[in-house]
């Protein structure tokens, strides 16, 4: 199952632009899944944080995001605050014909965890720091499919900032617990090394280093859909944001869960009747 009609019947409100809304059983499933991921975060006593929908463009530029993934960036655009320029109209194809745009200074959140590193800029840590956050993430996908690939989707992340050994232990534990969670929910999964979709990969230091020193592993559902990933950043964010430990930039790592993709996997594996879905209590 998991066709659009089935998903709509259990609460999907799909926009052809590649965005999903939820009601009824699917909304309850989304909440249950996030609560389950939060219970994983609680095992590290990860502190919950809440951040806005956008990041300053210059901040993402410092991280090399706009150079590495320009094809995925989504920008909030406003009209220039000049009265004569505030007129606009919607064309027959649904596009808005803008007059003059205000300067674009922000990027809609591409990954939830970026906010966490920025929020702790300049801090000196005395021990490992565990954080968790959830955000709506935006990426310019060419082809969209409900719950599987969307232009906006929900990402829950758990992050560890600390010594190299602490981030390595965190990732090892995260993989084990994500495995356990999928198994308890009856989802067949496997792990595979992965690379991010870098722009011009042949000349991208980030892509080439991911080939040479695998730092990203994806949790794949039976049909190859990535439900989540574990990522080792080494000192990339520690250096970029001046977060230190014992006088040196901290290492960081994260585990990321795509909520809509877990929803797809549950509905695909267990069918459209919510009565057959695994109970959150069991997974928790």
């Amino acid at each position: 199952m998991t066709g659009l009609a089935d998903l709509t019947r259990i609460g999907l409100r799909w926009q052809p632009s590649g965005r999903a809304g939820f009601t009824g059983p699917l909304l309850a499933l989304a909440d249950d899944l996030d609560e389950t991921f939060r219970s994983l975060a609680a095992r590290w006593n990860a502190a919950e944080e809440r951040h806005p929908a956008a990041l300053p463009a210059d901040l993402l530029d410092r991280l090399g995001y706009l150079e590495s993934f320009p094809q995925q960036a989504t920008f909030p655009v406003g009209l220039a605050p000049v009265e004569d320029d505030l007129g606009h109209r919607v064309a027959a194809d649904g596009s808005v014909v803008l007059t003059r745009q205000a300067p674009v200074t922000e990027v809609l959140t591409p990954a939830a965890c970026y906010h966490l590193y920025a929020a702790h800029e300049g801090e000196t840590l005395t021990g490992p720091l565990y954080l968790t956050t959830r955000n709506t993430c935006f990426r310019q996908e060419r082809r969209c499919e409900p719950l599987r690939r969307q232009r906006s989707f929900t990402m829950r992340e758990i992050v560890c900032l600390g010594a190299e050994a602490e981030t390595a232990a965190f990732l090892s534990q995260a993989r084990q617990w994500a495995d356990d969670l999928a198994r308890l929910m009856g989802l067949p999964v496997s792990w595979a090394p992965a690379t991010d979709p870098f722009f011009r990969p042949r000349t991208s230091p980030g892509y080439l280093m991911q080939r040479l020193q695998p730092s990203k592993h994806e949790l794949l559902y039976a049909d190859g859909l990535a439900l989540g990933s574990v990522n080792l950043h080494r000192t990339h964010f520690g250096e970029a944001f001046g977060i230190t430990r014992d006088g040196a930039p901290v290492s960081s790592a994260c585990v990321a869960f795509g909520l809509e993709r877990w929803m797809y996997a549950v509905a695909d594996r267990h069918g459209a009747d919510p009565a057959n879905w695994p109970a959150r209590e069991a997974a928790a």
Partner: protein, 81 residues
């Protein structure tokens, strides 16, 4: 086509030019380049181009594997065998 000793000399000279570290006499063909902190990720694209120029053939970056750039010895075995 350069001889293997010439290729090794070229590679060592390139690493010495690019590395921020002060490479002494103990820098050799078995010295870890990235693990040892001699090179960073920013150097990788240019290193690929250098290797392609030295061997006179393109490198399929999709086929790169962990440790291909471990040290000069490894690169000689991987890209010039």
């Amino acid at each position: 086509m350069l001889s293997e000793p010439e290729i090794r000399t070229n590679l060592r000279a390139w690493v010495r030019r690019k590395s921020a570290a002060d490479l002494g006499a103990d820098f050799g063909d078995g010295t870890p380049l990235f693990e040892g902190g001699l090179l960073r990720s920013i150097h990788v694209p240019e290193l690929v181009l250098v290797l392609e120029r030295l061997r006179g053939a393109p490198i399929d970056v999709e086929a790169l594997a962990p440790c291909d750039f471990q040290d000069v010895d490894t690169m000689i075995g991987r890209f010039f065998a």
